[in-house]
């Protein structure tokens, strides 16, 4: 039995906005795989909840008029993984969210919840950062779109205003076009796991596949919020893919990331695997793009 004060069920986005304004203390709940766990632990006990779970308009993946990938915030992880548009344009995202928890969690958990929770370990977060995703928020004055980098304010806190809910995540066409990515989740076991470190790399190769035109890399758990690695990216951009390059690229992430020491893993260990994962993820992304590591 959960210790909740009240549960308000939103029937539409507008209804959710109204409830947000009427109950400013209330917590938004979607699939509940984070919120209910926190409530059980006593962290959110006695709180009011606004459920947006019934708003079907927020489910599904589509291409908008500019051919940007649009992922409704309530789309579950398992739907994302199996979605043909995701598989065609941004397969790495489907693979990443397929590593969340367990099959049950992947059926109930949503990509909106995964990002709004604001945690650095979210399996979707590093890939969304590496693809420079846009977060769509809807409030009383309409729609606001911000880069995912700006959406994360600090650990556990994201940029949602008191009248807003997150309604979609967009991946711009310029971001996914001719781009191939690979995600590596490092955990202490192969299922039911939270990432010790998550690393997502994507590349766009030149037409002859001899040059990396654009390389992007982002980590989860390498700092308080998910982060890109500009130094490492600069090392790889415009270069010919090779084992030697992968080594230099990977070594460069040390200058970008800032993992912490905790009982879950030491800083030195996280740095060590970050380098190895960058090397392997870049190598795999180049292969997926049809290139060869010289």
């Amino acid at each position: 039995m959960y210790d909740m004060k009240a549960l308000y069920e939103a029937e539409s986005v507008q209804d959710a906005i109204r409830l947000r304004l009427e109950h400013p203390e209330a917590q938004i709940i979607a699939g509940g795989s984070d919120v209910l766990v926190q409530m059980r632990e006593g962290k959110r006990s006695g709180k009011e909840l606004i459920s947006i779970y019934m708003i079907d308009a927020l489910r599904g993946v589509s291409l908008d008029e500019e051919e940007n990938l649009r992922i409704g915030s309530l789309t579950s992880f398992s739907h994302i993984t199996r979605d043909p548009l995701i598989q065609k344009y941004c397969n790495v995202l489907g693979e990443a969210v397929d590593q969340v928890g367990s099959p049950q969690i992947r059926n109930i958990g949503t990509i909106g919840g995964n990002t709004c929770n604001g945690v650095t370990s979210a399996d979707s977060a590093s890939t969304l950062h590496a693809y420079e995703a846009i977060v769509e928020l809807t409030g009383k004055d309409g729609v606001r779109r911000i880069p995912i980098h700006d959406f994360y304010i600090r650990a556990g806190q994201v940029d949602i205003r008191p009248d807003e809910i997150q309604t979609a995540i967009l991946i711009p066409k310029a971001s996914y076009e001719n781009t191939f990515g690979h995600y590596i989740k490092y955990g202490m076991r192969n299922a039911m796991e939270i990432a010790t470190l998550g690393c997502s790399v994507n590349v766009r190769l030149s037409a002859d596949r001899g040059t990396i035109q654009r390389c992007r890399i982002a980590y989860g758990v390498a700092g308080p919020v998910p982060m890109r690695c500009p130094t490492a990216e600069a090392t790889a951009n415009g270069q010919r893919p090779s084992g030697e390059l992968a080594g230099r690229f990977a070594r460069a992430v040390i200058d970008d990331i800032n993992p912490r020491d905790s009982w879950r893993a030491s800083k030195a260990f996280r740095q060590h695997i970050a380098v190895e994962m960058a090397k392997r993820a870049l190598t795999r992304a180049v292969e997926l793009a049809g290139g060869e590591m010289a």
């Binding site: 010790t196 030195a268 994962m277």
Partner: protein, 770 residues
Amino acid sequence: MNKVGRSEVRVDGFDKASGRTKYYEDRIPAGALYVRIKHAEIAHAMVRSIDTSTAEAIPGVVKVLTCFDVPDLPFPTAGHPWSMDPGHQDVADRHLLNRHVRYWGDDVAVVIAENEVAANQGVRALKVEYDPLPFVLDVQKAMEPGAPQLHERFPGNILKHTDLRKGDYQAAIREPGLIKVEGWYDTPTVQHCHIENHGCFAYEENGRIVVVSSTQIPHIIRRVVGQALGRPWADIEIIKPYIGGGFGNKQDALYEPLCAWCTTQVGGRCVRLDCSREETFVSNRVRHAIRFHIVTWLRKDGVIAARKVECFSNQGAYASHGHSIVAKAMGSFPQHYPCDNMECDAWTVFTNRPAAGAMRGYGMPQASFADESNIEDCARALGMDSYEFRKKNIMPQGFHDGFSGNTNYYDSYRQCMAKGAAYIDYERKKKEFSHDTGDIRRGIGVATFWYNTAVYPISLETSSNRMQLNLDGTVTFQCGETEIGQGADTAYAQMVAEAVGLKSYRDVHVKSCQDTDITPTGLGAYASRQTYVAGFSIRQTADILRGKILERACQETRQAVGNMDIVDGMIVRKNDDAPLMSLKELAMTAQYDPVHSQHITAESTYTIRNNAYSFGCTFAEVEVDIPLCKVTVKNIVNVHDCGKLINPALAEAQVHGGMSMAIGYGLSEQLIFDEKTGKPLNGNLLDYKLSTFMDHPHLEAEFVENAEPTSPFGTKALGEPPACSGAPAIRNAILDATGVAIDRTPINPHVLFAEFTKAGLIHDDWREEE
């Protein structure tokens, strides 16, 4: 024998698979009150005061009880048989709630409420003031002079020290030319992680207290609840329904005494106490972390000249099963690899950690890890293949242990190892893997374990059961050895069908639910004894029942008793196998006889004054990703000589479960504590890395079926043995792959990172720049 030795479907299989089976929570009457416990958030302290006023004001809260309210009746909790010898009784160091907090998570108060939310709110609203005391988590530190003291009666925190001496170790090590192999081996605090958390409910009925509990040991729980409440033991009725596993955690009085006391404080109303997973991790029992120091002296020809073994067992805050566990661990060393000169010592030491109790293997997963790591290192020091070294030194056929009376009737170890080596293709792979030099390297490892089945002669071994012939010719069977998921009821059904002469094991109705008012007294499920010990009393009671049946048949058929037999549910004449009458006809005729009506039942008790060795091994093949500090178990096989299999399919399942636990023990599981506060950090199923089936390869279970001569059914232990040798086999495989010997479990990526860095296998240049 044709009813045993077959892979029959479990007698409880359909109900369990279809969700009909009733566990304690399914039996709770409507309106039961919720008991929730306030656990101390400090590792060592005296409770100065508890302000209950806010909690008591919460709507729905019925009563708040604190450590200042409980009776001063210290009681023991270990699920051991009672001993009439006071010197052999378990340490009584528990109270229902504690003023002296001895670990983070100790029980200081309870809130009883109409619903769960109010009970939890009440617990959060309690304000506890403590007078903090210094605390200690490590065994060696707890033994130092001036260390914080946990129990007045045990100075120096030493619960017990025992030793074993054989030959003259000190003289033996002076032999010139000996090679010394010394190591310290550390095993972690782990938790059982059975699927169903412990819980129970209690109410008063006609002046007595009924407790329905998720336990392995109902008859022992009756005694402990009686002791804790200061009531005659027969005032207590314990009912044990189906349970979702126990692995030894529920071989202890957990919260039955507290729950029973709570009902007496609310006028006998039904109260329920359900542990959360977090409470299960910290406030139930854990497996003893045991640290071993082993010094082995070898002759160049591979003979072990002398051995010294020191075992330091971390008991945690309360005695529970206490010294029994490390005593068993220590006792294995002189037998596993017999050697003429041995010096062994074992200490059990209190620390401010959760209380350690029984857990699958009872000291042997720890001992096996230490022993088999050291033996591996011995082989390598000599330049011998470790499998060959084991074959040379391990217990021979005919070995006899005077204390237990056990004899190694067969060459079990060598037979098991030969089978394991063949399955895993040891010779070929060993050679092939030795060429691996890159980032990814493969290795193969072997380990064995020593085990014995039951607890004789240390404790009483008794088994009672009752058989009732039903009017349809079937038999209803009751005994005190409990079904805890291992499949005991199915094994009993097969043995009873065999021993009585029924047509099918389906003609035996096993009353799975024990009720101490009704069920013949037994000791429950522990050690690896249920099938072995129940076998003795099943054979005996079946003989009594058969005698009664044949006597009655003699009246009905005028054939001599000695000329008849019971075969497949029919009474037959031995001379010509002619069927005389069915058991149904006999039962009906006897019951409804207007002059001499007879209800045919039998009941007996058998005191088992035997024990039986049960040995085996694991071969593991691993792939080590050195840069990622990751180990993947690619292939693993356990081989057991557990005598004749009663049900091969269930035996295999038992081995699979144990292998899974061993993989977790070897690679990932460990309860960790904050050094600064003593707080457990990962007492939940996310942060405690229980291995999942995604972390396992195919688990291969094989058997060597040497009939155990002491058992009426030729069978012996298989409950715990599968959990014993997996971790050291994996450790030895990692050593084989990388050349790095890791002397602790779990061998997780953090440990591998440190060890590989030390060994120069990985090198992070930026760490020098920082």
